[in-house]
Point group: C2
Chain length 366, copies 2
């Protein structure tokens, strides 16, 4: 590799970048935000692959949209999965995780959803997508409308070497031309349209959908997001067994979102939502307690499908490298039809440790 | 004052003790646990007033009692109020907060519940009690069975200069002789009785009571506590509007307690509890949002009654000194019958600040 592109020479000096390997490839990864470049930005050979910027969240539509946007913006459905960036490397496409690792799972599955033609026509394209569904190796749960495996939703495009997004028109044209799967696009709005937007969000809430992303239509177009009350309950339901692992704010932040959402929509007391929120907590932790009593530890089960066995093995290596060997246990890797099905467990160490203490009868000063 | 008693000379050197004043009195207060003496231990003239030790909590009765006690212990009802210690100073009694400040409120009201005769007969007695009820100046809410004002419950006794508790027999004899108000005493048990104890706790839960304290019957008798599922919901209901103020663990810890409680009692899914838990969160925060929209800030209202006006004023000074002027606003101090009724507001600054931002439409990276 010749001299890596800016900002990597200085980032390396400041220990904000690290060398990583994927197969034969060596690449540089920003391990933190650095000089305006987000964490996860890469130097791949001599090209810069922009990181996907973090997107802030508004808690009130009316005031939030007015504060965040001075002109028109696009509204798209927010999909509850994990963020990947896909780019071409030689005759294959590679997929990066948000943090900037080549992800063997996303790399294995992306070609089913994205034609390589896209990159023949646009070799410097970086496609930003969400990979979402119950059979993914990173997050518990997924969108209610993906009943099995995973699906991919392309929602943004960038170019190698150029931080910033393609315009909505260019992106839409490419998605149409190559028939890329995309999230629902609700159209173009201005901040004064917040009541119409709230009506759409209320429909998303009723359908058990996560929420929306709002995008200013310019290369460095500002983005912000807003989620439904349903999404708060859902997050708590799938993560309640991580209670002790996650910062407490994970939960209280979601409840604050819900309270503000209910206030803005002017809903009366919602008994169903109350019961679902309480159940989300108690069921989630109850599951962990059951599991602990059965297995002596709390763990999450993951299951995902690969096209190629070596990608499944590479994925397990990747997880072990990131999380440490103790917390990951491969349970099964078998061929089923056209797939290699990988099943593994991820231990929840803090809750396991705490339950060990509590079931031994330790008393806690709290 | 001559040389203060141990451990104060060394604690002063290590900055673990501070001089405080109350009226004409100067006294030393341990600001941290120090050499086995709990925070809140005092040097009053040349006498040591032992601090009240922190009491650990068990999350499982069966294993917890077996682990914490090797022999018999007493079981008493746990009262949801604030801990005070009462001692005699000249011809009056003074009451200390847990942290070791003379509390003008508890000092004003204690004589209604405790006869001074007690201290004539036992001048070196330190009476440990809970002051509980809706009209207290420290905590939101209180026990369901105290419908107005406050009541006092004497639950332990110590002696000046002697860390450690009087025996259960001595304590009970004194409580009977002087007709002191006490929490319910459920009797003497051994760890193997945990099923009977659970039955009592289940009754407490059904009655909306907080839980129980278990006490080994010896001078340094070990103590531990266990609370009902109801108490978790109640704590969340009264503190939900402090969501952002409190560490997130405040809430998740309570939910973990509830999950373990439900598991140990073998209850089936409890729809009422689920709904109450969800409502506790959403109502609590909903109240804060309403208040913020009305007043531009979130605050808790307190109301309490004093016998003497000067004690009310001293109490406000005390709070301002501890919490800072900005967060406390006196609203009313008026004579009503035999009382001076004090009303004040305590601001909830972090949630106020966060809601200011969110209602301005700020977007948050979370």
């Amino acid at each position: 590799m010749s001299l890596p592109p800016e900002p990597f020479p200085s980032a390396l000096e400041r220990r904000k970048a690290r060398w990583e390997t994927y197969g034969e490839h060596r690449y540089l990864r920003l391990t933190d935000d650095f000089r305006g470049f987000p964490k996860g930005t890469l130097a791949w050979d001599d090209r810069l692959i922009p990181g996907y910027p973090r997107i802030g969240r508004i808690f009130r539509l009316e005031q939030g949209l007015a504060q965040q946007f001075s002109g028109p913006f696009w509204m798209e459905e927010k999909i509850d999965g994990f963020n990947i960036r896909i780019f071409r490397c030689g005759q294959e496409m590679l997929a990066l995780s948000r943090g900037g690792y080549v992800c063997p799972f996303a790399t294995d599955r992306a070609p089913e959803f994205i034609p390589l033609d896209l990159f023949d026509a646009h070799p410097d394209l970086v496609l930003c997508a969400e990979l979402a569904g119950p059979d993914n190796p990173y997050t518990q749960g997924g969108p209610s409308f993906v009943s099995e495996d995973v699906r991919l939703f392309a929602f943004d495009m960038m170019r190698l070497g150029h931080p910033g997004f393609l315009s909505q028109a260019e992106k839409t044209a490419l998605c149409n031309a190559f028939q890329l799967p995309v999230p629902r696009d609700f159209g173009r709005f201005v901040p004064g349209d917040w009541r119409d937007i709230l009506t759409i969000v209320e429909r998303l809430d009723a359908e058990g959908r996560e929420g929306a992303v709002f995008k200013e239509d310019s290369p460095l177009g500002h983005r912000t997001k807003f989620v439904t009350a349903w999404s708060g309950v859902y997050d708590i339901a799938v993560r309640a067994d991580d209670t002790v692992e996650l910062p407490g704010d994970f939960f209280t932040g979601r409840i604050l979102r819900m309270a503000l959402y209910l206030d803005e929509t002017g809903r009366e007391r919602d008994e169903r939502l109350e019961r679902e929120l309480g159940r989300a907590f108690l069921d989630g932790l109850g599951r962990s307690v059951e599991r602990f009593k059965r297995d002596g530890r709390v763990a999450h089960d993951f299951r995902c499908r690969f096209r190629r066995r070596e990608n499944a093995l590479a994925f397990m290596d990747h997880l072990r490298a990131i999380l440490g060997h103790t917390h990951i246990a491969q349970r099964r890797l078998e061929e089923e039809g056209n797939f290699w099905v990988l099943e593994f467990e991820k231990e929840v160490p803090k809750l396991t440790g705490l339950l060990h203490q509590l079931f031994r009868g330790v008393s806690i000063l709290d």
